[in-house]
Symmetry: D2
Subunit: 350 residues, 4 copies
């Protein structure tokens, strides 16, 4: 099958190319980048040197439509909603890794993103592409919206306990620690190495956009309005997110019961690993361990002292947090083994 | 004045030596280390090469008593309570940077540290050495217990808002991000560079000992029992702690009112800086900025969406989190300018 | 085919397991570690969680012989020469990633390692396992000695120019920058994160053992005694080596001629990439780009000002510098496609 | 004494401000930055929050002349030669940290920098501001040109052995490893944290401009033309440079003789420390140890195997490599104790 990547020069685009070039069932027919059109791909993604002779091409939707059977979109937020409607009319399957089709309520774009959505009628058709929650819908979707990287991290940690109803739904604190690749490939003062090395920078202590996604998805699971108190910190690493979710219990719960909830939820999930060990130094999820893999590691600890449950989740923001999940969605949409092209373990040490 | 440092080969001991060697009013008369007795100090603390010809000596309390007017203690937790009573009888002033005299209730040592305190009667005499809370008592104390590094970070962020009574006292979440020097100078698998680089390791998601100190001090301020839901994460840096404190408001409060509370509390504090900027990349506290200095930067953000106040504080765990506060305590105990020997700014970039 | 890994709990052992578990033609039948016998493999190599249920077993050569068709050895230097002779008698194929069979002259072990070799007669039978130099011999070897990580880096950069004879053979300076995983998995003060972060530590400015290998292999190519002035520095990363080789020209040479020499040498090599770009930020080899891959990137620059040629090479010390080359050797010994199980590109950014 | 800093918003400018604000004999009367004119200094140099209320002002030479007794210049290379002649006419003392007055031969600016010097007649008047070589001239200089950071590192390592005449003067290899602050405060793709983390990037394997300075100064010492084969690598740290200098001996020399040469050269130097230890983990110079200090640590090792002497030097590029030496020059020019304001030790660990 022929696939194309729109916006292929960014970090998510590069990761999509890395995965798709070695995927046994697809061929990359187009990789667009207006900035780098005509350049070899390895100029921008040096890890792909020797893996392909493909060059970037201009972002020409009609040409891409003709060449491809499925399209990945990795353009900046706010861009894809202007060209996806046209592409969608052709029936082409689309997986959009940007934020443009994640939220169901058009008003949420005004509130969280500050712009009016250009094609609000398409929001209902789009499926939120987190396989662990919406696998059945993804199977038949034409347009899948890949989750935000922090949103995926938070939702996967919280889904089972929120669904259980055993926690205070308006006292959920989610504290994220994020690598620098999450801010994208464009140099800024904040990402300048001398300014970013050794930081713990609370760059978005309140008001982060991914709050909207997390609340949207958790509210469906809870059957009531869930509110999430989210904060995001930049730390000194490149890939990876750790989400620390602090929730307060309404009913007492035991460690065994939490285990059971999570095992039941994720038993058959190929990319969720439950991590809670009594020995060794990696007792809980840690992004270091999942770099380059499509795993989301989930763990927890009970704090009887404060009647709190701490849920921990770690993933690679470019993999399970973006390109990996997008490829997983493609596998589901095409009826293939969901794990195809995604079976690399992480590296250790790294 | 002659001072001695007990346990001078650890990281806190080394930082005490660095500060005391350049302090205009003291002379370092003794630096003990059983492990390195007879070695030049710069063998262990290479930054002090050329700053002193002092050598480590055996930990001989009676000799140190004769040579010194004031004693700093930086031994591992659980050690100083076995020799401080003997020293205290001589009337020598003591500043203990370890945990042995921080808690008032002997039962808290059993609960949080797992051992019976060896001289519980001395706990009442010891003053908790956080100048911002106990300056007057420190002035006349014989035995000062330096605060834990995370405890200081959390307390300084929370004290004004807790004292105001405007928050839920049993839904306080404190999420710490800590550099590797916080775990001390002894190599372990967990601190092995290949295993620690790029981590976000939730090494103590619940049950951290500093919880006891934070609750003790905040409960005094609140006039009621405060409970703190604390989690600690190791990140890829050496010095520094960021505390992110998530609290939920019982009464509405404005940004201006929060500013006022914090300005009133810290206006005259030489080492607290309020950081909340609308421009630039360092809008909130960040440990990167305070490395090597005695500052604790404190900032905040209001989250109307969840009725939450996020309080942020950053300090250098070896400075304001240990040795710096210990020297500040000495300055207070001796009636000197509190800032003497502690006026270095941080380095930027670093 | 069934393979075993002797000394599987170290970093090279872990990387061998990662590669072998996904290799399409082999099954890991045994992974030995006396220290961790009985433990699940993911306790030590957390990236392999969910990839295998194998446990470490005691290092029992006779049992391993029965279970396996080919044996990888990743024990510390000086260990394998005591048990390999016994195993070799059974005819089992062996790939030893340690130093014990790399040098041809038994006296070199005395000079560079400080011990008498236990079975000097086997040194001649062992093949130095760098495919780019000894592919034909590896095909039929029973015992292959995997090159040292820095040795491989240096030899691959220098081989074509040394073979050309156009440089001063006794003024070759090789300056290595090495990640922390190169020193192995055992915590030491030098590898303690607070002591290793941000270092550029010249830990072996002269006298590094890999000098012997580099000189042995280059002397063969040159047809004369080559001497190498090697220095090794530890830097703040986990995986990877950059070798900067400064050589002085005896005859003038043009950029085009250097290109030709290297292209001719490496044209058909699946894991050597020539990197010398006029644009972008990755114009020369950089270990960052090859982490997790089996590539060795080689580049160069001519310095007319000093009549110098600078040769640059980068590889992942655990991959092309150890486990990757070992698997490549296995592929050659077994007559398989040399690239099997080794085709991952690096990750970018990382 | 009143001093001004021209170009105060860059990293060297910020470091000058940090040093000058705490210097006991000077007052900072002006800090210029066209980009940030009107902004508080701590917006750009967040470490200086609370240390000064000074704001940046426009770069108005005539105003600065009236306000100041001595001027530091930290503008980008090629800028100061256009305004310093005008300032110099007033008799004001000037310390220029940029490259504009370092080289004596105007042709060297054409060769190494690619531009014609605007006031070649002033090059002779300017003194190369490395106190260890030109202290006497600096005392009476009006215009001092601060050395380049790598140049200072290389010269201080090589000066005594070059002066001794015991080495091959055209086979000197200097291999630098440099932190990211060396490239300045302006974000670029190459300095983008995701692209710079974990690199060992040979960004200038040949042709680096500092070669000219090193050759100029060493040739004076040698009394003959010295040529230097220099290569520069970026590594994953912010501050610091390690220079590894590989030289080949023409006469045999013993360790004791090298010690004697270096001790004689640097015995009375307040900021040179000889570092060559038989124990511990910091046996040789390492930039990690000198961060924030004005020390240049120099060490060495003899390699009898290749008849090579390896000289190692480490300094903080913003301190001894720029601002620290500039302040040291001021102290000398003003007849003050050379160490004033520069006595901080480094931090450990950091």
């Amino acid at each position: 099958m022929k696939v194309g990547v729109f916006g292929a020069s960014g970090y998510v685009g590069g990761e999509l190319l890395r995965l798709l070039l070695k995927h046994p069932r697809v061929e990359v027919a187009a990789a667009t980048s207006n900035k780098y059109a005509g350049e070899f791909i390895h100029r921008v993604h040096p890890n792909l040197r020797g893996q392909t002779n493909l060059k970037f091409m201009k972002s020409n939707p009609s040409k891409v439509i003709n060449d491809c059977d499925l399209l990945f979109v990795a353009t900046p937020h706010g861009v894809s909603s202007s060209f996806i409607p046209e592409i969608a009319e052709t029936g082409l399957k689309i997986i959009d890794a940007s934020a443009d089709f994640r939220l169901k309520d058009p008003q949420d774009y005004v509130k969280w993103y500050g712009w009016e959505h250009k094609c609000p009628e398409m929001l209902k058709k789009a499926v939120y592409g987190l396989p662990e929650l919406h696998r059945e819908k993804i199977k038949n979707a034409q347009l899948v919206a890949g989750p935000g990287c922090m949103a995926a991290t938070g939702i996967l940690a919280l889904a089972p306990i929120v669904k259980s109803g055993k926690i205070e739904m308006n006292r959920i604190v989610v504290d994220f620690k994020v690598g620098s690749s999450g801010a994208g490939g464009k140099p800024t003062l904040s990402s300048h190495h001398p300014e970013h090395y050794s930081v713990v920078r609370p760059y978005k202590p309140v008001g982060h956009r991914h709050t909207a996604e997390i609340e949207q998805e958790l509210s469906i699971l809870a059957g009531e309005k869930v509110s999430v108190a989210m904060s995001a910190h930049a730390v000194n690493m490149v890939r990876g997110i750790l989400g620390t979710c602090h929730v307060f219990l309404t009913d007492p719960i035991s460690v065994i019961e939490v285990w059971r909830l999570y095992r039941n939820a994720y038993r058959d999930e190929p990319f969720i690993r439950l991590v809670r060990d009594r020995k060794g130094i990696f007792r809980y999820p840690d992004p270091k361990i999942v770099v380059g893999s499509n795993f989301c590691d989930v763990g927890f600890e009970l704090d009887e002292h404060t009647n709190r449950l701490v849920l921990l989740s770690a993933l690679d923001n470019l993999m399970k947090g973006a390109a990996g999940t997008a490829v997983q969605d493609m596998n589901i949409m095409c009826g293939w083994d969901e794990r195809e092209g995604l079976q690399d373990s992480g590296l250790h040490p790294i």
